[in-house]
């Protein structure tokens, strides 16, 4: 009777993952979906600890170590996830993803050591040929799991560093060729080690590990910051595949279904994100923003003059507008200005001004970033317009207020085929009567591209930190 408990728990785990993912993709059920998957995960983990037996029927040992690790991980994980600010969510996800990758990598390393060192007697009798006793499928599972896990780990850490500004974009000519070369070396070494099993197998294993880590770093390094969400999503599916290889290793169905589900769902999600930006995955990975931006910025600098607008004028303009559209971007998130933004919206509404928010699908650092942020400030759901709706209403809008957004309103995406963001759908703010841009300075946006919008006749610049500017604007409006 006890025998079926473990497989039953794993089956429950697999089912909750599927249902959880399904529920996560609908707004109404998303939160419960997350909970369902978490419960399934807990069941699978507890069942493994107490019910797992090896081929000889031995139970797991080292309970103190296992629970110690679980408790430490739970405490740190919960604290980190609870403390993190809404603006830093994306890098947090990337960091957690890296931890999963590292976990898969370590499992493979330990299993490799285990399989290459256990039969000591055999080893002595048969010499290096004992390596040949390891079944090919097992061997390849260990190595591929290790490779994918370490690429995901190294890549996620770089993505994390890039998102929080610790690591700058870095690329050199021919980097993609170097990357392809590294990938080739990893494949060749893996095939060589598995097929030939030379005496240097153990050493070569660690060489593959080192190159995989290097590849993870090089893979993410040249990709522009604006594309980071796509990369994180891709690395997310990598970790899923690494977890699935763990499932192969232990013949464990729940690891397999969980891993593969995330692997395939993550890949689709990555493609959906690319579509939202109207870019292909290949474009994101190979045609990185970095190089193109440098070329583009030279020409745009000659655009010439922009005009500034005072707080007072802004307040008057808004107070007598019939309709104001607010376009939030990452600048709003950085300044933590979502609450005062909601205040501005309320005060304008009291004055009879219609207010809406135009949300670009990739505004901020991640799709949906702005929705989450504004929801935190209790901005009503109906006020958040998706891009198409926002663009439809643009012509009837008197004032567009751009708060720390840049690339998502850059007309170059529509007009300049040489621009690296050409083809990305944008919020067509120029259809409105007036455009007010709040930025801290004239520095280009996250993608590193100059924005011609700032120099257009309809545009006025309102410099300053979004929170400070909005606070001042609210008090100005009270006096109007």
């Amino acid at each position: 009777m006890l025998d079926i408990l473990l497989p039953l728990s794993y089956l429950i785990g697999s089912i909750t993952f599927i249902i959880g993912l399904k529920m996560l993709s609908h707004p109404d059920s998303a939160r419960r979906g997350n909970l369902v998957a978490a419960v399934g995960m807990t069941i699978a983990i507890l069942a493994t600890i107490f019910l797992y037996t090896d081929e000889n029927g031995n139970k797991l040992g080292n309970y103190a170590w296992i629970f110690g690790g679980l408790i430490i991980g739970t405490v740190i994980g919960t604290l980190a996830a609870k403390k993190v600010q809404m603006t830093a969510m994306p890098e947090m996800v990337s960091l957690f993803n890296g931890m999963g990758g590292a976990c898969a990598m370590l499992i493979s390393i330990i299993e490799f050591k285990h399989h290459t060192s256990i039969p000591v007697d055999l080893y002595e009798e048969a010499g290096a040929s004992a390596l040949k006793m390891i079944p090919g499928t097992l061997f390849i599972t260990i190595i591929v799991g290790m490779v994918i896990g370490s690429v995901s780990f190294a890549g996620s850490i770089i993505a994390w560093g890039k998102l929080n500004g610790k690591i700058k974009d870095f690329s050199f000519n021919g980097q993609h060729i170097v990357n392809l070369l590294l990938l080739g070396v990893i494949t060749a070494l893996t095939v060589y080690v598995v097929a030939v099993r030379p005496e240097t197998t153990i050493m070569l294993f660690y060489v593959i590990l080192a190159i995989s880590l290097l590849y993870g770093v090089m893979f993410v390094f040249p990709i522009g910051g604006a594309d980071m969400p796509v990369v994180i999503s891709l690395l997310n599916s990598f970790t899923g595949v690494a977890a699935a290889f763990g499932g192969f290793l232990y013949n464990n169905p729940v690891m397999l279904t969980g891993g593969i589900l995330v692997g395939s769902a993550g890949t689709i999600l990555t493609i959906l994100m690319c579509k939202a930006m109207n870019r292909s995955l290949k474009n994101v990975l190979i045609g990185s923003f970095g190089g193109g931006a440098k070329a583009g910025s030279g020409g745009a600098k000659e655009q010439g003059n922009y005009k500034e607008i005072s707080l007072n004028d802004t307040a008057v303009l808004m107070a007598y507008a019939s309709k104001v559209m607010i376009i939030p971007g990452y600048g709003l998130a950085v300044a933590q200005a979502q609450h005062v933004c909601h205040e501005l919206e309320k005060i304008l509404q009291e004055k009879g001004v219609e207010v809406a928010y135009g949300i670009h699908p990739v505004a901020g650092r991640m799709p949906g970033h702005m929705n989450v942020l504004l929801a935190e400030a209790d901005v009503p759901y109906e006020k958040l317009l998706e891009m198409e709706d926002a663009n439809d209403q643009m012509a009837s809008t008197s004032v567009v207020m751009i708060l720390g957004a840049n690339d998502v309103v850059n007309p170059a995406a529509k007009e300049d085929p040489s621009s690296p963001i050409y083809g990305m759908p944008i919020l067509e703010v120029e259809k409105a009567e007036h455009v007010i841009v709040n930025k801290r300075s004239m520095k280009p946006g996250y993608a590193g591209i100059e924005n011609e919008l700032f120099f257009r006749p309809k545009t006025s610049m309102l410099f300053g930190d979004a929170k400070k500017v909005l606070q001042d604007l609210v008090s100005e409006l009270k006096q109007v």
Partner: protein, 109 residues
């Protein structure tokens, strides 16, 4: 070639392969129509789910010999990292989605 034959000869491996193929299609089906607002929470939720790799870490840890300190240390580390992935992932996702919940309550009230 030997590798391919091995894959099909062993019924257990073959069964796993079947699960893999079906799971791939399931993963695609399950999330193919998701609004862009949910991209981030969905990615985060999926991130937590691949933390299932923790099970491998627990097995490794539980099977390590009690005098093999290297394996114990590495195993311990992988349990910690895996737990971080699972717990951190689910909690972060919940926090994101909590915002959506609040939004809905506002709508009703």
């Amino acid at each position: 070639m030997e590798f391919i034959t091995q894959l099909f000869a062993d019924p257990a491996t073959y069964r796993l392969l079947t699960i893999v193929i079906l799971s791939i299609f399931l993963g695609i089906e399950v999330i193919s129509r998701v609004p862009s607002v949910l991209h981030t929470p969905l990615m985060s939720g999926a991130n937590a789910i691949h933390g299932v790799v923790i099970i491998g870490a627990i097995i490794v840890m539980g099977q390590a010999h009690s005098d093999d300190y290297l394996a114990l240390t590495l195993g311990f580390l992988s349990v910690v990292l895996g737990t971080l992935n699972v717990v951190g992932g689910f909690v972060v996702t919940d926090r994101m989605l909590e915002m959506f919940d609040k939004k809905k309550k506002m709508k009703r009230g």
